[in-house]
Symmetry: C2
Subunit: 196 residues, 2 copies
Amino acid sequence: MARRGDTIELAVLGLLHEGPMHGYELRKRLNLMLGWGRLLSYGSLYPALKKMLRGNLIEEVTGTPSSAGSPTSRRTRITYQVTEKGTAEFHRLMSEVGPTAWEDDNFDIRFRFFSSTDMEIRLRVLEGRRSRLQERLDRVQRELAMTQKEVDRYATELQRHGVESVEREVRWLSDLINAERGTGLSATPQPATDNE
Amino acid sequence: MARRGDTIELAVLGLLHEGPMHGYELRKRLNLMLGWGRLLSYGSLYPALKKMLRGNLIEEVTGTPSSAGSPTSRRTRITYQVTEKGTAEFHRLMSEVGPTAWEDDNFDIRFRFFSSTDMEIRLRVLEGRRSRLQERLDRVQRELAMTQKEVDRYATELQRHGVESVEREVRWLSDLINAERGTGLSATPQPATDNE
DNA sequence: GGCTGCATGTAAGTCGTTACATGATTTA
DNA sequence: TAAATCATGTAACGACTTACATGCAGCC
């Protein structure tokens, strides 16, 4: 099962999928991609790497100094790469449907690594997020209709802006879903639609 | 100083500012307003209330059962109201500039309670958030220009959508700032502008 | 020879959730 | 009177941050 804390694991596996890296580099890239919010600290990253090492999801790269950018190998840094088990875990986390909160928290990360999955998974993730957002939207609108009374001006504006933002995101997701389907459909010319 | 965990405290003080309430009711309202993300649990709320009680920020309401909605007073529930010290703390938290992360995390809550503050504070909070978002935007754009190479299709789309969303929010904030300034100006007919 | 940036790590503390436990009150 | 909802609480745990500690590499 996907636990709450598997976020770093997923992100690290995804990045290492794009090539071997050491911790410092991982943190930099992680902070770039999660960048809109908090910064990931070393105190989280390194213990997580150790744990993944113990779980055989990743392994240290030995020898072959030609792989790194600069030829002069700095002794101190430890480069990691994914193992076969790590790849399997990555695909599991990318496709799994867990508790709602997990899926929402990690949507961005999953999306970021869409290139490493296939269309079926991509559609499932996109549609899952869209339906959850839509559900929230409906719930809020229902509650809004009930507690119509004594509304604060700023509270109302906040609500309005929130609803609008989520609606925008739903449209964005719909476009992406159509795009995914579009590429799929262009390969498969209309399976069962009689429009002559 | 405003610590990270003062979020609940601020929200509770703000809500109690609108009238006395008991814990269960507070949680419901809190979950409505923070609603876009996680749910606040009793395990967080009640200890927080206890702590605020110890700090004399709030106090239990004694007697006068006419204040509540239904006249039949249920013995089990404990109704709270803000103390004078609590009001002072509320205003302090509403106006204080702390570590960046704190201000960003609590922007929504502060905004929700704008009616309980004055325009000077409102403008400071709105402008603070706008400038932080703008700064982030600039930083991302700078980094984007540097690491132009090998860009993943989905990573790019995510970046694009993120930038667009933040730009939208900046415009929203600008509108709000103008509105605040507008009301201020219309009440005070041009203090020192020679336009005869 | 000292400063800055790269690089890895640990210990303590904070914040909050999950799961559990309990009981009163309203409604069917 | 049974079920649902209201209402309050605690203990254990989880995940992450802050602050600290260390050392090498390259530059001025």
